[in-house]
């Protein structure tokens, strides 16, 4: 029997030791960028307590349907080039809290990995909650037979965030997960009124960490109110705001991922 992940060419995880640094944002924008390069992308949201992905694509009110091979992922539009799975679709009310201990979370994650009928995808992006605990251990274990491409680690520039992401690097090393690179998010803010750049969350920590750890540095993504607004409204930032401050960096991250995979196949 063909596994539900048999048609998925590349699996990559988006991790961070720290909360609130923009994992879901990076997952979303990466998916949109890859779509714009003509790829078919799925996002598996394994943040069970704080599932952000559905809303970022404006499909938070959608339901999940079953088919013969399992769960049908939610397509974000008619195009069917981006599909999603998240516990967010399974909640009765959006405010419902998922108050589960580890074992129950682990069980659902195993199902999410095995039972979603993704079909053929170029990329499956796995968005995770912060940390190095149940969700992460279970996800990596469940994905191991499918040989994930690796992980993108997201940090903000300041030391308090980098401090946690160092631990996430150790997690990757210990679990044999290749680090595709580090993204330094929320890296500087250019005032839209006067163009003065302020490093609200400091600068450079992500790049230094990549150098120190010997992993690729994928780039700095600046704070961009238009990006935040897009995510709020579930819009396609990559399509609609190519002149916005965060666009070049986000496009570059996707390009590096694409370059990495084409190198692999050649």
């Amino acid at each position: 029997e063909r596994s539900n992940l048999a048609g998925v060419r590349h699996i990559l995880l988006v991790l961070s030791g720290k909360g609130g640094v923009g994992k879901s944002t990076i997952s979303t924008e990466l998916a949109l960028s890859l779509r714009h390069s003509g790829k078919k992308v799925g996002i598996l949201d394994v943040d069970l307590c704080g599932p952000s992905i559905p809303r970022m694509f404006r499909v938070q009110d959608n339901d999940v349907h079953q088919c013969d091979s399992g769960w049908v992922p939610v397509f974000v539009d008619q195009d069917k080039s981006i599909s999603l799975m998240s516990i967010g679709f399974l909640l009765e009310k959006p405010g419902d809290a998922v108050v589960w201990r580890g074992p129950k979370k682990n069980a659902l994650i195993k199902q999410f990995v095995a039972d979603v009928a993704w079909g053929d995808l170029d990329f499956l992006i796995v968005d995770t909650p912060p940390g190095t605990s149940d969700e992460h251990i279970s996800t990596v274990e469940a994905l191991r037979p499918y040989k994930p491409l690796g992980a993108i680690l997201v940090t903000t520039p300041q030391a308090v965030s980098v401090g946690d992401v160092r631990r996430e690097l150790t997690f990757c090393r210990k679990t044999g997960l290749r680090v595709l690179g580090i993204v330094e998010n929320m890296s500087g803010f250019v005032c839209p009124h006067c163009s003065e750049c302020t490093n609200i969350f400091s600068k450079g920590g992500g790049e230094e960490l990549a150098k120190h750890a010997g992993v690729p540095f994928l780039g700095c993504v600046p704070l961009d109110p238009q990006l935040s607004q897009s995510l709020e409204e579930g819009r396609d930032f990559i399509q609609e705001f190519p002149k916005s401050p965060a666009f070049p960096a986000l496009a570059r991250i996707a390009q590096q991922i694409l370059d990495g995979t084409s190198q692999r196949s050649s």
Partner: protein, 239 residues
């Protein structure tokens, strides 16, 4: 007399923010086994801290534990740390509504917990999760002292115009608090000095006394103290 307990086992940030993380590996803080259990690490005479960070020998050490092991350590922190007589025990938690949160509420159930302060940023992506946290508190009967809206606006140091970097597209914490009948304790604006102070392990309130963020923090802290005082008073009345 204040105690700060960091139960973010995977991402312990408190030691660094308190200036208790040594720059050189040899100076890393150690937890001392005193006669009656573990001793907190003191920032000042009246501020003691405990975190898994103090048990790790390298900044690269990862705590890759499933729920039950995390719960075990949290229990130890509560049972075996010799806090002494304290006025306030503040417990910093990781994001979520899972093992750490259930366990801390469970283990503290015999003690009197004044309540929870819930932090959000202004945008709906954050509020969406915070509603779940409020829901969690109600489920486990944890009183909610109130909500703090963090990263609430940024004033450019050059032109003084305000930008809403994290836009309150659905009315921010204010609207959410109204809808859910919880107090909004205050809003804290973005200030680059906050991150800098935390990274250096210095007190932002001391380093930037004139910052609008400082007055926001102080107002919020005052409201929390008032809440605790009122409830303590009611408790005493009942007795």
């Amino acid at each position: 007399q204040v105690a700060l307990l960091d139960i973010d086992i995977c991402g312990p940030s408190i030691p660094k923010m308190m200036g208790l993380e040594g720059e050189q590996a040899s100076e890393s803080s150690t937890v001392h086994q005193s006669g009656s259990g573990w001793s907190p690490v003191y920032v000042e005479e009246n501020l003691g801290v405990m975190s898994v960070g103090f048990l790790l020998s390298s900044p690269d050490d990862a705590v890759i534990w499933r729920g039950p092991k995390k719960n075990g350590l949290i229990k130890q922190f509560l049972r075996d740390v010799d806090w002494g007589e304290i006025d306030y025990l503040i417990v910093d938690t990781p994001p979520g509504t899972s093992d750490e949160h259930l366990s801390i509420v469970q283990y503290l159930s015999a003690a009197h917990v004044d309540g929870a302060v819930i932090i959000t940023t202004p945008q709906e992506v954050s509020l969406q999760d915070v509603r779940k946290e409020i829901n969690f508190c109600r489920k486990v009967k944890l009183p909610i002292i109130g909500v703090v809206e963090n990263m609430s606006g940024f004033i450019c140091p050059k032109c003084k115009n305000e930008s809403q970097i994290f836009p309150p597209t659905t009315g921010g914490a204010e609207k959410m608090c109204q809808n859910l009948s919880v107090s909004l304790l205050g809003k804290v604006p973005l200030d680059p000095q906050i991150g800098k102070s935390c990274d250096k392990g210095q007190s932002f309130l001391s380093e930037a006394p004139a910052s609008p963020a400082t007055s926001s923090y102080r107002n919020i802290i005052q409201r929390i103290q008032e809440y605790c005082d009122q409830h303590h008073f009611h408790e005493e009345k009942i007795i």
